[in-house]
Symmetry: none
Subunit: 225 residues, 2 copies
DNA sequence: ATTAACTCTTACAGTTGGTGTAAGGATTGA
DNA sequence: TCAATCCTTACACCAACTGTAAGAGTTAAT
């Protein structure tokens, strides 16, 4: 049966949720340490994440965004914060549903099943907010535009998207693209970056790759131009 | 922009909804006659349906079920019925989200955008039983094998799969592939069939394309060999 | 069995897109 | 100002896709 990961710092709520969900036949794994929640969630390979918003260290919002950029989901946010702007923010960052505590168990289960069903029929796209990347086919979807990236372009984009907003080192790019960081000619990476930037420009995604001098490259937001 | 169909019998509410949605840039079509709502909705080819539950004649539940059986969606139920069992029932019948009136416009818009985003990323896989074909990317999934078909191969497979178990005429294949049935050299089709058969063999799908002499080609089951 | 219609296979060449190399120009920051 | 770093453009090679050509193989009716 599918595995649900519960991300909730309140022990009592966590166990209550676990009971509800296990009664329905799902296996459950709870995150109890909140030092590296994103890594812990990914390691569990969940088929659904039940996510609280008020957490120690990293907020639920940040976790939400990080998971979606890594193609992890679906995410059901379950929180006591009933402010509309929290809901809007969570949905905007990629949450797939938003429920407020207290929540009737049957409603929770129904929403969980809905999302499971939906995701069974879905592309698993890496979500970067205003565009999405299919890492299997290297298709990039930006609004109503879509374009097929080449292998190199796709691999670079995958690294940029999954690491965002962090900087991806040149060394890692070389490792992933050419199997070694002991490269002879650094220029080939620059050429491929130029080509990728040009391709992105063709679908309206200009100035999205920032160069970090001496280090590597970084995916940045498109709003501020 | 995407077209939203509003199914709501209260004129006042309908116009209010229409304002909210149009302000967001969507085009709107409202169902005002409720004699044949399902047919009317389908005729509008909506990219999303905003559905009330309390309607004359056919109930929202029935409409929901009928649309989902026809592959139409997404459906966002917006109703004043705040009973949990109504929500569970609607979700069970295929509704993709369930909101209760009164609903803040921003919440409604956020949920609409969420569903649009979800549905835009759905796999549309043609299912042939023991293998699937993605007609957008020409990816063919056979068990744990997957392979990328060329344009010609993909088009031929699409025709064979969607028409199966019927025979696809050579004329139709020529029309779809080369834009005309007044072909000069019939051989090119045969060459492409040979190539496709070879490609299918590489993922364990041998002897699946049967030649119907003088007519065309046909996708057949693989079991009997 | 014969034969004409139909189908399959293989080889070849043109086109296209992806990739790496090379060379020189532009930018950055001390 | 100047050296390190980065960007851009042009060129050539390679692989994949496609259509053409030629000949071999198969089918079904006589």
């Amino acid at each position: 049966m599918a595995k649900i990961v519960i991300v909730e710092d309140d022990v009592f709520l966590r166990e209550e949720l676990q009971n509800i969900v296990e009664k329905e036949g799902y296996s459950v794994e709870s995150i109890s340490s909140f030092d590296t929640p994103v890594e812990d969630i990914m390691a569990a390979e969940p088929s659904l994440i039940l996510l609280d918003l008020n957490l120690p260290n990293l907020s639920g919002f940040q976790i939400c965004r990080a998971l979606k950029a890594r193609g992890i989901g679906p995410i059901l946010v379950l929180t006591s914060r009933n402010q509309l702007r929290d809901e809007l923010h969570a949905l905007e960052l990629g949450a797939d549903d938003y429920l407020t505590k207290p929540c009737h168990p049957k409603r929770l289960i129904a929403r969980i099943q809905k999302l499971q069903h939906l995701y069974a029929n879905m592309h698993v796209l890496l979500d970067a907010g205003d565009f999405q990347l299919d890492e299997r086919t290297n298709m990039l979807y930006a609004g109503r535009n879509s374009i097929s990236l080449s292998e190199n372009e796709g691999m670079i984009m995958k690294l940029l998207v999954t690491r965002a907003p962090a900087v991806v080192s040149k060394e890692e790019l070389f490792n992933q693209l050419w199997g070694s960081s002991e490269y002879v000619d650094e220029n080939i990476l620059q050429v491929n970056m130029t080509r990728l930037r040009k391709t992105l420009g063709e679908v309206g995604l200009s100035n999205r790759i920032k160069t970090v001098r001496g280090v590597g490259y970084q995916l940045v937001d498109g709003e501020s131009g």
